[in-house]
Point group: C2
Chain length 958, copies 2
């Protein structure tokens, strides 16, 4: 049984009845156009049945006589979709009608079901969901034949309401709308709606800081178009009763019937009327009505002097009023009216109440209302429903952020979200019962296409991509890349795109580009700047290679989906890292600083030219989308934003050289008057064979150096040389020949510079690894650094609970998290644990620093507990949250966590000489361990952004 | 009675007997040449009497038959000089001899007396002591006639040994010697000796870090020449028995008769022999023999592990050995052999001992040895002889510094000594009985000519320039300028030179140029950078004006004595201050930062060109003398020295303006999201009528601003304008019209920038001054700042003791010090005190910060006490020295004091509402008060280098 959609240059037409939803008809036209793009032949859309060998029949249950007829004739089995949400059946039917030989029948259980079914056809043809949005041109096909194996009945989507929020629309989305469409009107939203539907979303919050969705259509055109397409409109979390904040701003006034105060106490009548008129006007469309109330423009409802009880009382009053208004103006039966209240920022506290004051939790006014919880604006969930709370009839929603305008630092320019983080957090949300509404703030949409696809796919099919699919984001990314670029790039090239997308988002995951500056990465310690710059350059080279290869017609797709966000972020990171080097070396007076300054200036220039290209590409298709501030935030908003300061060094008057041990901050000039001994400790790790020192010129003059090496088990790549104005830096490779090393030893290399001598002391040691278990670590340098996945034991807990490894989720490697994510444990009783083995040379007091994800507690008690025991002695329970830490507090604790995407806690441990066993137990949800650093008390390793690189362990050198 | 030295083109000749000192003969030749330069006629020097109308007869008591004869004939009265030290008689004698009509008779009581007498003649002719050293060409004269009033008998010099120390001779003095004379030889020293003698010095420590005075002549030529000229040679404080450290380095070795260890314990025989040979070789010349012993190269004699007792025991042994050696090899009668021991650095402790261990003080071995005390290397005396100690038979010496290589920061480049400081400290030394030996470290000599003149004149004639001559340094300077430039610059121009010399040394006195960097002066607070830059520019303009005027032949004199040191320091200061502005504004992202960067680069270029001119001037006469490192010390020695970092700012993407209140660190952009209120408090001071704010462009784009002023008693110099890439800063003058101000009031000025609004709040107040005594201060701003001389009462103490004002001695004005400087007092009993009146608006706890000279305690108990009482309540005694402070400690306390040339101590006081009276009593010597700052507890005024500018007081506006 085959259906020839396109064969021998003949294209199958559509048949769609007059009775069909107008939105379905419009989508059919879009799909018809998709088919045209793929085949070169445009199917007709017939409203009457005529003779045809092949026909695509599109209908919706309850809106199609012919579908009903096929069902009754047994040619179609509608039972698989009946009474389901947003489901479609996609079937090849033989002789569905007397004069039709074969049909591809696409039936939806409801309007959106049919639309998803239609776009399923496009997807099967290899059409990207971004065909319109990013001009992704599908691959041409000579023949399209469907077989029985293409028959499918879609699943009911996992999450009921799935969508995104266009937020803080200026300067990017605003300029884009104005230039291309003349306003925030239906011409602009046409594209947004199409994008949402193609991504299988159904829910949208429109732009609202300066725009009025209900007026800008012009008139109600926006709302009407949304309703036609089956888009369920929401308003942002602080805009109740289908009216936007901008509307009130627009309508208020001394003589306004709505009064002149956004204040339910002082202007109850006006506000009530404002809401009532909104419900009357827009209640007829498909909406999720926001209830509750916040202050104007995303602020608290009452002033700082108001008590919690005042706030709660007022909110209850508001909710009661709103219930009545909705019953009167939308539907007497409230169960038919989806409603939502956002537990955002201060509202979270009103909901839970405190010891003295009962919160809104469990109140009648909210019983059938979706409780929308929120992340902390930086992608970390806040409180989640407890088992008891999950019984709430109205269900739960989650407001998540890929983009944010606010503290500690705004990020609105470009995608900086990382799939494993979205997966880890949103899976947890789902596990905790948040399954009714998922909305993500995408700012201006553009450059968010990749994570937005994942977010909506995760919401649509949680079984496929959710908790069970741990470590499947890599596969997701590969599939997504194939979806966009299968006709554009070959397999190898697609793999390169994978490297680029994964690479740039992983770098952005460590710290968002807007939050980068010259003081984040340490310029020399652990070589972290150098290594990151190398990684960036590798990715930039890949992006450039594909840029050169891609054909002009496909440039828009490649540029907008891959090249621009990747190069944008990588170039910015590169600029800030180079600035760090410029400042570091400038402060030492080293001439190479001036070279870095030039490179920084080049990066700044590149940033401009890149955005310029983005804005002019494809007739300004993306005009405005690169306009957001992104360099050098000194404040949460763009006030004070500052480009890098370029530091210029003046040459010294006489030949002078600085000697540095690479990877450390040690540097000397070799003066006769000062200690001139440096330490190169790399060879204490038995698998390290090469290390390096570097010589830098402090003047533009010729400066000679000589190197003397006193042991035969070391060699240096050079033994003398000259620096000058051109050649102002030399890296000297030091190599150890362990075969010539009989026992532990100390070598010395003496470097003579124009101003004196300095000595590099180089200790080297051997380790008898046979004595120790796999993944046993050793205090060879002055600390041990352990990636969390390098445990020696991983012991399960109660009911198959266990720590699982989330690949590539740590800042330097992976992360360990307990599953199921909702479980609570008692350490030493039923808790899973990780056991780490490490050898120290001296017994005594040590400190263990835990590097964790900056997760927030799932309950308002402000606790994320874990437990630690050393050598099976007493188990101590610790709270990862420091006392005083508060989500959203711009001060040190929370803000530092979200900016650096890490939480670090130090705990004292006592160690014996020899091998020690450190156990780490799960206790409450939210504990995600990335790294563990152990060092003698008070002797913290040199500071660096990513933490010390992992030290040697048994098995590393295999 | 007239003596025609030069009249009608006829010159008087010299007569000097064969029996005269050869050194006197040589000096006569120099003076003859001086006369030639002045008159164009060269006197002959006759060895035989011949017929002459006018003759200059030169002789020394005991070396001249003719002088003896005149004495016996009653033509000359030698009784005035007989048995005196270094005295000369300068007399016109009628018919001294049968065939001589008139003679000018110059007789010395000894060799140096005669030489000083000869140079007295030169001086009378207007010949500068720097005629040779700096090529100061004397003014031509047509006639020189001496009258009776020129007769003079010189005084016995106040201090017996007066000289300087050429130290740390590389790179400056070393290169100068090598290039001009081929070594540290007699050709070079010829000029040094002449300089010393013309300045009436008699004592020299030669270069010794790489040079060997006794070998370099070549051979003994240096020593012989010194002896011939009557120069008493010393060795530096750590070079005993007439042998230099370099000699030992040169002679030591395995097979050396002197052994191979500078160690009196391990190599007693070798060291003893080394000393013995030195004494044998050089003991025949006039010397002050250094005794005692330190480690090699100016370090401690024993290692850190040695106890105080060990050190003292060893030193006693050394001293005994040296006594015997000197008796055996120089003179059995030790009283005929001047000897000196330096109580330098650690030796000070060996001398005083401690509670357990008796020091060397009072030991027999030292009884007839000059005890040489030392300053702290930064011009502040350390311990001084107590009344008891002043009885020491050997007397005392002082080793003072105008130049130093050591911590916290070396200063060797250029003169940075300030006459009032030299006067204050060296007068105190004399008052404390240090009258046998004054030696000053002048580094490479050059540029030290001005303070060196003062130092030697002070030592020569303490009655004229010492304690009694308080505030006479200005007169000294004017006289000195006249001495050098009377024929070169007119009176007005000489006054400009006074401004230049006083100006640059006063600036250097605040902080030495080598210790300047971009972080010293606050870039905006109190406008201290701006004001200093204005002062510098005024001085630079004066120096430039004279540079343009001076004739080519006099350029060397002007350039070396005035222009080079002044412009060198001022340009360096300017560079560092501009760098501070560059860094400050760069960090704010303000475009004007780039203009400052260019100016800094110009200053750096100027530094080079200036030194180049100095080095090439007059055939390289000063070659090498500008070579010392002087920019950006990061360490005490030049390792790490760094030129300013120039910070380059990149323009912001959109029009943005920063608003600042001048004189404060307040700045805002006027964002809608942040506090945007600034405060201009200048008008709280009733005599201030003009203040200013400044607007800075953050981009290169056109940025408009408008200013709204809400009160009629304020006017703004502009009410709107535009900044752009060229015109990137605007200063807005705010003027108060007090006539329109009825009572205390608050005005507001609102500034609209491209990104929002900001408000400047401007309070203004009146004060009814009639109510209060003169010099009453008011807490109008948030603090009171009082210059020490603005007391309301200055009450004398016991026996005419009183606080006296030392003009211009404070960093911002004068300083108050008690005289006599040796006195101790009991506060409230016999102590003089200063009483300050000030009015506060609220009673409560306040803090008073005392700004004092960083004097060191005169006794080893580490105390400089003063006492304070507020409103005649309890008198509290305070120690200006913080606990733990130690002279020479590179750490915070002492080092900060000498670098900033200030000591700041905070004391709590309780004030009542209204007028308070703060009394400050003298208790121990060394207390020198400059400024007093009073503020509510915990509310320290914004930090700045010079301290808050003085606030309003009754009488200021008169």
């Amino acid at each position: 049984m085959e259906f020839n959609l396109f064969k021998n240059n003949k294209i199958a037409d559509f048949y769609i009845e007059e009775t069909a939803f107008s939105g379905v008809k419009k989508i059919t036209e879009k799909v018809s156009n998709d088919i045209y793009m793929v085949t070169g032949a445009r199917p007709h859309i017939h409203k009457d049945i005529h003779v045809a060998s092949e026909l695509i029949i599109v209908g919706t249950v309850g809106k199609s006589a012919i579908i009903e007829q096929m069902n009754q004739q047994g040619k179609l089995d509608l039972s698989t979709i009946l009474s389901k949400r947003e489901v479609f059946s996609f079937q090849i039917v033989k002789q569905p009608l007397p004069n039709v030989e074969q049909a591809l029948v696409i039936v939806g259980s409801d309007k959106r079901g049919t639309i998803y079914g239609l776009f399923h056809l496009s997807k099967r043809l290899g059409v990207s969901p971004f065909v319109d949005w990013c001009n992704v041109i599908p691959e041409k096909q000579m023949e399209i034949v469907f077989t029985k194996s293409d028959n499918v009945v879609s699943r009911e989507p996992s999450v009921k309401l799935r969508g995104f929020f266009i937020n803080d629309e200026w300067p990017a989305f605003g300029n884009w709308c104005m230039k291309n469409y003349g306003g925030f009107n239906a011409k602009a939203y046409e594209h947004v709606f199409e994008l949402l539907l193609r991504l299988k979303g159904n829910y949208l919050w429109p732009a609202m800081w300066s725009a009025r969705f209900q007026d800008d259509g012009p008139g109600l055109l926006n709302a009407k178009l949304a309703d036609e397409y089956g888009i369920i409109m929401g308003m942002s979390h602080h805009e109740p009763c289908l009216r936007q904040g901008e509307e009130y701003k627009y309508l208020r006034g001394k003589d306004s019937i709505y009064g002149d105060a956004w204040n339910f106490r002082k202007n109850k009548e006006g506000i009530t009327r404002f809401w009532q008129d909104g419900l009357k006007r827009s209640g007829k469309f498909e909406n999720v009505i926001t209830v509750g109330m916040r202050g104007e423009a995303d602020t608290a409802i009452l002033g700082k002097e108001a008590t919690l009880a005042d706030n709660i009382k007022l909110l209850l009053d508001v909710l009661k009023t709103q219930r009545s208004l909705i019953q009167e103006n939308v539907n007497e039966d409230l169960s038919q009216v989806p409603r939502m209240i956002a537990l955002y920022k201060e509202v979270e506290e009103f909901f839970y109440g405190n010891e003295e004051v009962e919160g809104l939790i469990g109140c009648k006014e909210l019983e059938d209302v979706i409780l929308m919880l929120c992340d902390d604006n930086f992608g970390n969930l806040r409180t989640l429903p407890t088992q008891e709370m999950r019984k709430h009839k109205g269900g739960y929603g989650m407001y998540y952020h890929f983009d944010y305008h606010g503290g500690p630092i705004s990020y609105e320019w470009i995608n900086s979200s990382y799939l494993p983080k979205i997966w880890e957090q949103m899976s947890m949300a789902y596990d905790f019962g948040i399954r009714d509404l998922w909305i993500v703030n995408v700012g201006d949409i553009c450059t968010q296409e990749f994570p937005l696809s994942f977010f909506l796919d995760l919401a649509y099919d949680f079984e496929k991509w959710g908790t069970a699919a741990i470590n499947q984001q890599e596969n997701y990314a590969r599939q997504w890349i194939k979806q966009q670029f299968h006709g554009i790039f070959n397999q190898d090239e697609q793999e390169k795109i994978y490297k680029i997308l994964n690479g740039y988002t992983r770098i952005a995951h460590k710290r968002k580009p807007e939050a980068m500056n010259a003081d984040i990465y340490h310029p020399v310690n652990e070589r972290e700047t150098k290594k990151t710059l190398e990684e960036i350059q590798m990715l930039l080279n890949l992006a450039e290679e594909l840029y050169q290869k891609v054909s002009p017609k496909n440039l828009t797709a490649y540029f907008s989906l891959v090249y621009y966000p990747a190069v944008g972020i990588l170039n910015l990171y590169k600029m800030q890292l180079l600035t760090g080097l410029n400042h570091y070396f400038a402060k030492l007076g080293v001439m190479i600083a001036n070279d870095y300054a030039k490179e920084v200036a080049n990066c700044l220039q590149r940033d401009c030219s890149l955005i310029e290209e983005y804005h002019t590409m494809d007739n300004g298709k993306f005009f405005g989308m690169g306009m957001s501030e992104h360099i050098g935030f000194t404040n949460w908003n763009e006030e004070g934003c500052q480009k890098p300061i370029l530091m210029q060094v003046m040459p010294a008057n006489k030949p002078r050289i600085i000697v540095m041990v690479e990877g450390t901050n040690q540097h000397v000039e070799g003066s006769a008057w000062h200690p001139n001994r440096l330490y190169l400790k790399d060879f204490l790790e038995p698998d390290i064979c090469v290390a390096s020192i570097a010589l830098y010129n402090l003047s533009n003059l010729k400066a000679d150096y000589t190197i003397k090496n006193n042991v035969e088990w070391l060699t240096c790549s050079m033994l003398n040389g000259t620096l000058d104005g051109e050649h102002c830096m030399e890296q000297i490779e030091i190599r150890i020949h362990r075969d010539k090393l009989v026992k532990d030893a100390k070598g010395e290399i003496c470097i003579t510079t124009p101003t004196g001598d300095c000595v590099i002391e180089i200790p080297a040691e051997k380790i008898d690894t046979k004595k120790w278990k796999h993944n046993t670590f050793f205090m060879q340098k002055d600390y041990i650094s352990i990636e969390a996945e390098h445990y020696t034991e991983c012991k399960p807990g109660r009911e198959q609970s266990a720590f699982l490894c989330i690949n590539d989720y740590g800042k330097t490697k992976s992360a360990m998290k307990v599953y199921p994510t909702t479980a609570y444990f008692t350490a030493g009783v039923d808790a899973p644990y990780l056991e780490y083995h490490f050898v120290v040379k001296e017994e005594g007091n040590y400190e263990a620093e835990f590097y964790m994800q900056p997760s927030n507690p799932v309950t308002p008690d402000n606790k994320i507990l874990y437990a630690v025991s050393c050598n099976e002695e007493v188990i101590k329970v610790y709270n990862a949250i420091e006392s005083g830490q508060k989500v959203g507090d711009y001060g040190y604790l929370w803000a530092n966590g979200v900016l650096n995407n890490i939480r670090r806690r130090v705990q004292a441990i006592e160690c014996k000489k020899g091998c020690n066993k450190l156990r780490i137990y799960a206790v409450t949800p939210g504990f995600v361990l990335e790294k563990l650093v152990i060092y003698p008390s008070g002797k913290k390793p040199p500071e660096c952004f990513l933490g010390p690189a992992e030290t040697y362990y048994v098995g590393r050198d295999k």
